[in-house]
Amino acid sequence: MNDALHLHYFVDGDDFTRAGEASANVKKTLRQIGVSPDAIRRVAIVLYEGEINMVIHANGGVIDVDIAPDQITMVLKDTGKGIADIELAMKEGYSTAPEEVRSLGFGAGMGLSNMKKYSDEMKIESTVNVGTTVTMKVNLS
């Protein structure tokens, strides 16, 4: 595999139809450089969940992905409304998504726990009315 590779994306918070474009691009890149299918699947799921959250719960933001030989690090940063109680937000089934989000197929309150499950490390930093930064790592070995 190549040396460390860095990918940067802007996620438009007003365009639900394009949410997931960054994740799809990362997935394609990982496939091209020959990352294992299992790691690709895990990165795809956690990144897509995070990207969707940035669009439905915040106003979009930026995603940075670092691909090192042994580990993929994803940082999702938004300047949305923030998460007041992170422990509560992590609970399966907890969601503040409005009905309109549910009618789009999201808002079951499964995303954050899914991100935790499929990443090897996850950290959420959030300040109400300032924004949220989610950092996730997936090991490649």
């Binding site: 394009r18 299918p37 799921i45 197929g105 499964m110 995303g111």
Partner: protein, 114 residues
């Protein structure tokens, strides 16, 4: 069974990627909630859904699925078809409702997997 077998069983109209009807489908799932597909699906390679928006195709792509079937005769728009084409995901539409569509596939031996 193959995507082509599913097409015959459900009387599907093929919307795109018809050249991939030979692809093997081992297990399938049915859901209108993409959240649940992302959280509970493992190796199911076919999704039946009544939801029609681009995130259906994106979710299927993230889960490495080969085929999406819209129930109740629903049809995706051009932007969704384009997304699916780029990703090589076969889109089909059946007139059956979710319960009946899943039941017919089950009856013919297709299972839900783990």
């Amino acid at each position: 069974m193959t995507i082509g077998d599913i097409k015959n069983i459900l009387g599907c109209k093929v919307i795109c990627c018809e050249e991939r009807l030979d692809a093997e489908i081992n297990t399938a799932c049915g859901s209108d909630m993409m959240s649940d597909v992302l959280a509970f699906v493992k190796d199911q390679s076919c999704l039946l859904t009544g939801l029609v928006n681009p995130q259906v195709v994106r979710t299927a792509d993230m889960m490495d699925m080969h085929c999406v079937i819209f129930v109740r005769g629903k049809m995706p728009d051009e932007s969704m078809i384009e997304l699916a084409r780029e990703r090589g995901i076969t889109l089909m539409s059946t007139g059956y409702r979710m319960f009946t569509a899943c039941g017919k596939l089950w009856e013919n031996g297709l299972r839900g997997g783990n």
